[in-house]
């Protein structure tokens, strides 16, 4: 999750993900872009991806981990560590 938890002793600052400009702003207002439907996942593939995300959530780099750490950290009175 992305909320940083404010000023805390051990909170990591979570950098907002890069989100691209809209397709129309990239290609022009008249752009008419159809969908990419090349990825029809089987049930097994979906399960594999779910397992990958579960591992990602436990990894030190994940935003969920950052939020957990931020919530565990104790805010100081003046907002400084």
């Amino acid at each position: 999750m992305t909320k940083s938890g404010g000023s805390t002793q051990h909170a990591h600052k979570v950098q907002a993900p890069l989100i691209a400009p809209s397709i129309r702003s990239l290609l022009g207002a008249d752009a008419d872009v159809g969908p990419d439907e090349s990825l029809a996942l089987s049930a097994d593939e979906e399960r594999a991806l779910a397992a990958v995300w579960d591992e990602e959530a436990r990894s030190p780099e994940s935003s969920a981990t950052h939020v957990r750490n931020a919530k565990r950290a104790v805010p100081t009175k003046n907002g400084r560590a």
Binding site: P17, I19, I23, E37, L39, E61, S62
Partner: protein, 231 residues
């Protein structure tokens, strides 16, 4: 995605079908020099013609046609034709207002008999590797569909690491324990979040960030390892 370090050790499907044996041509109605100039404008340097095939993850025997889009914006249109594809795949390369290079993954449909064989994943993995090597900042795709519809791109592209801010009107409806989530990928990190997005999500324009260490790259890499895909 795992890259075989020495060019060997690729998985059998990749080794059989991704060897750079595609043809790159200029679209018949486009001037080759204009297309190359557009490529220079996008990347800030001369890009070899073969790069266009690599940047769209083209398999062997694909025909990759390039043309400069009309207008003043630095946009190059790349269409990919292949026996596996149900009509040509269409991609656009563009330079945005912040001088970043992005690739818009537009229409792409695999013929039914070629679906669920890991082909779409391999196309994406090759595209991601090539884009990362030449400084592409992100891929964008129109992830279509919604709950109960025939298209489920809004869910599958999220699983594959394509991110977007959650729509403002959906945030207040998030389950209490997911109320911190602000991006689609925040929901993917949690089983309840994934199910919530499957039932409540909607079509979105998803960004796959190619920056080192991005969540998108981590997930694709872990998934390809798990699936035995080594490019």
């Amino acid at each position: 995605m795992e890259s075989a370090p020495d060019g060997g050790g690729r998985d059998p499907i990749t080794a059989a079908y991704w060897n750079g044996r595609f043809a790159v041509e200029c679209h018949p109605r486009s001037d080759p020099e204009e297309a190359r100039a557009r490529g220079r404008a996008i990347f800030g340097r001369q890009v070899p013609d073969a790069a266009w095939g690599l940047l769209v993850g083209a398999p062997d025997d694909a025909t990759v046609a390039v043309n400069a889009e009309p207008g003043s914006r630095p946009v190059l249109r790349v269409t990919v034709s292949h026996a596996w594809y149900d009509g040509p795949a269409i991609r656009y390369l563009a330079r945005d207002d912040a001088s970043r290079v992005g690739i818009v993954n537009a229409e792409f449909h695999l013929r039914p008999e070629w679906q669920r064989r890991g082909i779409g994943t391999r196309v994406l993995a090759h595209q991601v590797r090539a884009g990362h090597q030449v400084g592409v900042a992100y891929l964008v795709t129109a992830a279509a569909g919604g709950p109960g519809g025939s298209m489920n791109g809004y869910y599958t592209w999220a699983l594959l690491g394509f991110d977007q801010r959650l729509p403002d009107d959906l945030v207040p409806r998030l389950p209490a324990r997911l109320s911190d989530a602000r991006f689609v990928l925040d929901l993917m990190e949690d089983a309840e979040g994934r199910e919530w997005w499957r039932r409540n999500g909607r079509a979105y324009e998803g960004t796959f960030t190619l920056a080192d260490g991005s969540r998108s790259l981590r997930v694709l890499r872990a998934y390809t390892v798990r699936q035995g895909i080594t490019i």
